[in-house]
């Protein structure tokens, strides 16, 4: 351990720590653009200047290692002056049109120039005009004028995605970021460049101009996109979710996440959701509240069991639910209904074990490990073949399916629904509607469930790491969790949750009136 003093605060840091990391450890602010903890050091923005006692010139904190006994500060007048003029260089050609810029509100440059009062650059010369709204690829848009050439995005494509699409072209004040001919920025991690871009030069096509960031609230969650279980922050307002961004967790995803995971917010929003339960069959549906529909379906379940015995009812589970929900569902089903027919629906067995070397895994369920654990714990070891043969022999009269939340990663969705076409009653618990369910000929109950952001629980990722998360926001308030649905299906009543929880939810819903317009 090395002893050092940062802005007068005694610190001990491990060997090989750079000064900027020591600053971060000590919790003190330091201006920086090009340094990113997940990338190599470039040292191009010259903003992280610090004064080291005994050294005549200022040094950049990102590329200087802490040595024993160093006394460092970044709050002397010299440092402030240097940063101020460094900023001025950054602003020479920067348009400073924050009102239009989508980064405003979370922009490093905006924060810094506001802090240092550099509202107008001091250059008399005209600004160099560069390309605006450049289409870099299917996901990202570039505004060269706003780019401060920190090279984070280039380093990302070189070091993390290893796809090398981006580069800095031209020289001097004509330098700009670009892609090579016929090589657009098109990889599975491209949107990370948008996150790490400290200014509004790279913006996501999906999120650009849709919302102002200061209108959005953040909640921590776990990405349900695959079994890696990246830690994420979701950004939402009262209309729903708007974007998903990675949250740093060195053990799971580091600083990154994939583009696929960022799309998972789409099926959560009201537009894509099943808002009311549907009971009936093709061309003859009645709408019902989820709770009432679940009770009605439960009534039917018990009638079927009385007539044909418990082995005529089967439960199909997917690894898309929290461990707690799955446990309740299996226990209720086995304990209260007495049927031991519980099956695991594996969506893509061929590519289940795939891994792209960075984050993406072939198992597109966040909680396959959790499901397997619960099945083992409850002593269930039936194969899908068994269900198929039982259905074909007509032994099964009713199937309860905890369908996938994210239907797009279940290529065999239609196939599985068709497999159950001959089953007399199907209770399909699902967050989103699907046309193939609507065209079922036999009796069907479609009961809306809550999505990952609307419930608390935990996922077990591919490493066997349990990651729990809390309720972020509520989008379809009447929808049930799988545990609630299972409770109603076996004919029990739901426990009314405590008042605190309710107060918290209503408070969250009303955040707009509380925070906006506060003067």
């Amino acid at each position: 351990m090395l002893k050092c003093k940062i802005n007068g605060k005694e610190m001990e840091v491990p060997q090989g720590t750079s000064i900027i990391e020591a600053f971060k450890l000590s919790g003190q602010d330091i201006a920086h653009y090009c340094w990113h903890p997940g990338l190599s050091v470039a040292g191009v923005c010259r903003l992280c200047m610090v004064e080291i006692e005994g050294q005549p010139k200022l040094q950049i904190a990102c590329n200087t290692m802490v040595q024993d006994g160093m006394v460092i500060n970044n709050n002397s007048e010299t440092v402030k002056d240097v940063v101020r003029w460094g900023l001025d260089f950054h602003l020479i050609n920067h348009p400073l049109d924050c009102p239009i810029c989508d980064q405003a509100g979370e922009c490093g440059l905006q924060d810094q120039y506001m802090q240092f009062g550099k509202y107008d650059p001091e250059m008399a010369e005209r600004k160099v005009k560069k390309r605006k709204v450049v289409d870099l690829g299917p996901t990202v848009v570039l505004d060269s004028e706003r780019c401060i050439l920190c090279s984070r995005c280039v380093r990302f494509t070189d070091e993390v995605s290893k796809t090398h699409e981006l580069g800095i072209f031209n020289r001097g004040d004509r330098s700009e970021i670009g892609t090579f001919k016929d090589r657009p920025l098109d990889n599975k991690y491209s949107l990370n460049t948008v996150d790490i871009c400290p200014v509004g030069a790279l913006t996501s096509k999906d999120f650009r101009f849709r919302q102002r960031v200061w209108y959005l609230k953040t909640a921590e969650s776990i990405c349900p996109g695959c079994s890696t279980g990246c830690n994420v922050n979701v950004y939402y307002n009262e209309e729903g979710l708007w974007r998903v961004r990675p949250r740093h967790n060195p053990e799971v995803n580091g600083h990154w996440m994939c583009d696929e995971g960022r799309d998972t917010y789409k099926y959560v929003n009201r537009k894509a959701r099943l808002l009311e339960a549907k009971m009936g069959h093709r061309d003859n549906w009645t709408l019902e509240s989820p709770g009432a529909a679940a009770k009605a379906a439960g009534q039917k379940l018990r009638e079927v069991i009385e007539a044909h015995g418990p082995e005529s009812v089967a439960l199909v589970l997917t690894g898309q639910y929290t461990t707690e929900e799955l446990e309740t569902a299996v226990q209720k089903f086995k304990g209260d209904l007495g049927s031991s027919l519980v099956y695991h629906w594996v969506n893509n067995p061929e590519s289940f074990e795939d891994f792209d070397g960075i984050l993406l895994r072939g198992d597109k369920n966040p909680n396959t490990k959790g499901l397997l654990k619960i099945l083992e714990q409850e002593g269930v070891s039936l194969t899908w073949k068994d269900l198929e043969s039982r259905v074909q022999q007509g032994q099964i009269k009713t199937v309860v399916v905890a369908g996938p939340e994210n239907q797009s990663v279940f290529p065999d969705f239609v196939e599985k629904v068709n497999l159950l076409a001959g089953v007399e009653n199907v209770v399909w618990l699902t967050a989103c509607p699907h046309s193939v369910l609507d065209s079922r000929e036999k009796a069907t109950w479609q009961i809306p469930l809550k999505t990952y952001i609307e419930k608390a629980g935990s996922f077990i990722n591919h490493q066997g790491k349990t990651q729990s998360f809390e309720v972020g926001t509520v989008i379809v308030s009447s929808a049930l969790t799988l545990a609630e649905a299972a409770t109603l299906l076996v004919g029990q009543e739901l426990e009314v949750s405590s008042g605190d929880r309710l107060a918290e939810l209503t408070r969250k819903k009303n955040f707009f009136t509380e925070t906006r317009g506060a003067l």
């Binding site: 348009p95 009102p99 239009i100 010369e125 600004k127 005009k129 605006k132 101009f209 102002r212 906006r516």
Partner: protein, 174 residues
């Protein structure tokens, strides 16, 4: 109870008071009949009071030289609005130098408190408080003003020019 009742004998002598009051009224009536210009009141609605130029009335969205909206859909006005009555939907403009513009801009006038904070927040002089204040409507009248009304209502005669134009800004190399 703090109602003071005067002795009855005094309140019986109300007639002189009434008469002197009536005298004052008739004096004014005759004076006004012969000299209507001296009246301190207005004959509303034939006559209108002229408010100062800084009066905060119904909003106007300004336009650029080519007649398109000046607003860049930055939503600073909506953020600043204490009544939360401005709703903007932004979109990508086909001209990359304009970049962003509102495809819908609505102000709910019944919630607006005419504080003018939106005007103050706007970085590009795109919204101003105009001089109009009489905008009555019958039952079911529409008080959610949209772009068509805010920028191009007939009495604006094709729109009010913004002081800041993108074109000039780009020419000046800013």
């Amino acid at each position: 109870m703090s109602i003071v009742k005067k002795p009855k004998a005094i309140s019986n002598w109300y007639l002189p008071g009434i008469l002197s009051g009536m005298g004052f009224t008739f004096k004014k009536l005759i004076k006004n009949l012969f000299n209507p210009k001296g009246m301190p009141t207005l004959n509303y609605p034939e006559e209108h009071y002229q408010y100062g130029p800084r009066f905060k009335g119904n909003h106007v969205l300004t336009v650029k030289k080519d007649g398109s909206l000046r607003c860049t859909a930055c939503m600073l006005c909506a953020t600043n609005c204490p009544a939360d009555c401005i709703k903007i939907v932004a979109s990508e403009h086909e001209d990359p130098t304009v970049e962003k513009y509102p495809i819908s801009y609505e102000i709910d006038m019944l919630r607006c408190v005419f504080c003018g904070y939106c005007e103050e927040a706007c970085p590009v002089d795109a919204i101003r408080m105009g001089p109009e204040w009489q905008t009555p409507a019958l039952n079911g009248g529409n008080f959610t003003y949209d772009i068509q009304h805010l920028a191009y209502r007939p009495n604006l005669k094709g729109g009010i020019q913004s002081r800041l134009d993108d074109e000039e800004r780009h020419k000046a190399g800013i």
